[in-house]
């Protein structure tokens, strides 16, 4: 499989047991890595269904189902591909994954879903990309940033974080490129929301000349979607919804479509065009 990173990469059929290569804490979030000998290189925006091979059930006999995680990076190494994931501990499943020791086995199904498009596919003639990430939502933007850089796409990066405790894995993931920061507690960069930074950019003359890619908490995604719609800028959002299977089997991950009806986010997404939906606020999603 090539790594040009904009097409839907197929997953090997059947769950595979992969070994945890590393698991470390970085500014509030866990970054853990799997060693994938026989899997393909995923495209930015795709996700994996993960569960610990042993001791999955934590509290009240949950989790039972696997959990969805955006791949944050995929790097070729000697012992095969290294897949990086960012984990925000919000419940039993993420708690278990955040606590995995190197050497432990993880059941993996992926890469799955629709990746980000290239700026040119998204907005013909758009020379550049604007990445807008919030909190744990920086994960898919990290690999997108690298894959865009590999293709020499000029990219501006806007990231928002709640506070010092939640400014996850910046250094590691966005090293070697200019990042504009917004933090709610003002401990770094602009004091406020990352959307404030986006507003400035969109007002600027270069607005139309870029495609916006965003991932983060639903309210942030919804703000980004509305702003891009208002200033008529093409955007793609990496969304979340509760998922049981991740490959189109359960119809559980429904997200309302702009035209009415629903899409299966695991099949038609997780990356959706801003114009496909009426709102990025989806019942049941978000880390409550």
């Amino acid at each position: 499989m090539s790594g040009n990173g904009s097409h839907r990469v197929l997953a090997p059929f059947g769950r595979r047991a992969l070994e945890v290569a590393d698991n470390h804490c970085s500014d509030g979030y866990r970054i853990f890595s799997l060693r994938d000998q026989d899997g393909p290189v995923p495209s930015a925006g795709q996700f994996y269904m993960l569960s610990a091979a042993a001791h999955w059930a934590q509290r009240d006999e949950r989790p039972f189902l696997p959990r969805a995680f955006s791949v944050a990076d995929a790097v070729e190494a000697e012992q095969g591909l290294r897949l990086d994931f960012l984990v925000d501990d919000v419940g039993p499943g993420t708690a278990r994954l955040a606590g995995l020791e190197p050497g432990e086995q993880v059941w993996v199904n992926g890469p799955l879903g629709r990746p980000f498009s290239t700026p040119s596919d998204l907005a013909p003639g758009a020379p550049g990309a604007i990445l807008v990430g919030g909190g744990i939502g920086v994960a898919p933007l990290a690999i997108l940033r690298r894959q865009l850089a590999d293709r020499g796409v000029p990219t501006r990066i806007l990231l928002g974080f709640r506070d010092r405790e939640h400014s996850g894995g910046l250094e590691d993931l966005f090293a070697c490129c200019e990042v504009r920061l917004a933090t709610e507690d003002g401990h770094a960069g602009h004091k406020g929301y990352v959307t404030d930074l986006l507003a400035v950019l969109l007002e600027g003359d270069e607005a139309g000349s870029a495609a916006v890619y965003s991932c983060g908490p639903p309210p942030m995604l919804e703000a980004v979607r509305a702003m891009c719609e208002a200033s008529d800028v093409a955007c793609e959002l990496a969304m979340e919804s509760p998922m049981a299977c991740g490959f189109g089997a359960c119809f559980g991950c429904a997200v309302p479509l702009a035209g009415g009806g629903y899409m299966r986010l695991c099949v038609e997404g997780p990356v959706v065009g801003g114009d496909q939906i009426e709102t990025a606020l989806v019942a049941g999603s978000g880390h409550g």
């Binding site: 197929l10 769950r15 039972f64 490959f247 119809f251 559980g252 429904a254 997200v255 019942a283």
Partner: protein, 318 residues
């Protein structure tokens, strides 16, 4: 492999007894995710489609899922393209699968069911039809699958329409599933399948109100397996037509328990979500369970367990 897994189901020759539960595996979507490997190593010996209806349906508002201890609740609401959309868009793709196709249909009246069975039944790509009767009959207001009378009359209406096998998918939310199964058999059903999901609800810990968009849904997964085994026994003892057993089957040992309890075929449902190739794994493990016990064919244990002589009494009293 020394074990013979081939099974004749209502005249259809199947390579092994492991199929899927309706609505728990979308072969078309799976092919988009996994490519041709899905077709090359298709996990089931027959494929059961998600239930279709006459008109297209969007399904229920989200959230549609809730995880439970050893299981899950779904309130999907039967989203589907409708009969016409199914025949035009899905059937061609499904006909490319390497196994017989069973189409699940649901109507809200005899007329709707009749139209569905007529249209679908005449398609050569379709080997059999499963009747999802867990819905109200608009004429009587009663849930067909909860009433032996309703079930019998529905089958009597549909039986003349098609030569193809008709499978009644029983609902477990009744006091006496065997009575409904018997009514289905009397009405002319070729087989019954069970269990469908158990009515269930969940409370959102944040709002203390119902979590699911539709208010409630259906429970599935390992947590319902003991209920499935009980109803399977009752139904298998009550009818002479083959029974498709499902409900929480996760591995070969589970499959063997269902066969020993009387199932002709077993279906994997929720476990597909945890492992897309669960069907293949269950079949492999199932064959291993038989070999370990020196069982050469399914008929040796189906519905009766091991013969007295072969009984390893260890786990009972020594």
């Amino acid at each position: 492999m020394s074990v013979d897994l081939t099974t004749n189901f209502c005249g259809i020759e199947l390579e092994h007894p492991v199929i899927n539960g309706s609505g728990t595996f979308d072969a078309i979507a799976a092919r988009r995710a996994f490519g041709e490997e899905l077709v090359r190593s298709f996990p089931f010996s027959a494929f059961v489609s998600k239930t279709i209806t006459i008109e297209p349906r969007d399904g229920n508002p989200p959230p549609r899922l809730w995880e439970t201890p050893a299981g899950m609740i779904n309130s999907i609401g039967l989203p589907n393209k409708g009969l016409k959309g199914f025949l035009e868009h899905d059937l061609p793709d499904l006909s490319l699968l390497p196994v017989p196709l069973i189409v699940s249909v649901m109507g809200t009246s005899h007329d709707e069911f009749t139209a569905l069975v007529e249209e679908v039944g005449t398609r050569p790509e379709v080997a059999a039809m499963e009747l999802n009767v867990s819905c109200p009959n608009v004429e009587s207001g009663l849930i067909v699958g909860e009433q032996p009378g309703e079930t019998r009359s529905l089958l009597e209406a549909l039986r003349p329409i098609t030569e193809k096998p008709l499978i009644v998918k029983l609902t477990p939310n009744v006091a006496d599933p065997a009575a409904v199964a018997r009514a289905g058999e009397e009405g002319g059903a070729d087989a019954v399948s069970l269990i469908n999901t158990l009515k269930a609800s969940a409370i959102d810990p944040a709002t203390l109100r119902p979590w699911l968009g539709a208010g409630s849904g259906g429970l599935s997964g390992p947590s319902v397996r003991p209920v499935a085994l009980h109803q399977l026994r009752a139904v298998a003892d009550a009818v002479s037509i083959p029974v498709i057993g499902m409900g929480g089957i996760c591995n070969g040992a589970d499959a063997l328990a269902f066969i020993a309890t009387g199932a002709a075929l077993i279906a994997v449902g929720t476990e597909n979500f945890r492992d897309p190739a669960a069907g293949s794994r269950v079949r492999r493990e199932f064959a291993g369970e038989l070999e370990r016990r020196g069982i050469g064919s399914l008929s040796e244990v189906r519905g009766k367990g091991l013969p007295e002589v072969a009984l390893n009494l260890k786990s009972r009293s020594s």
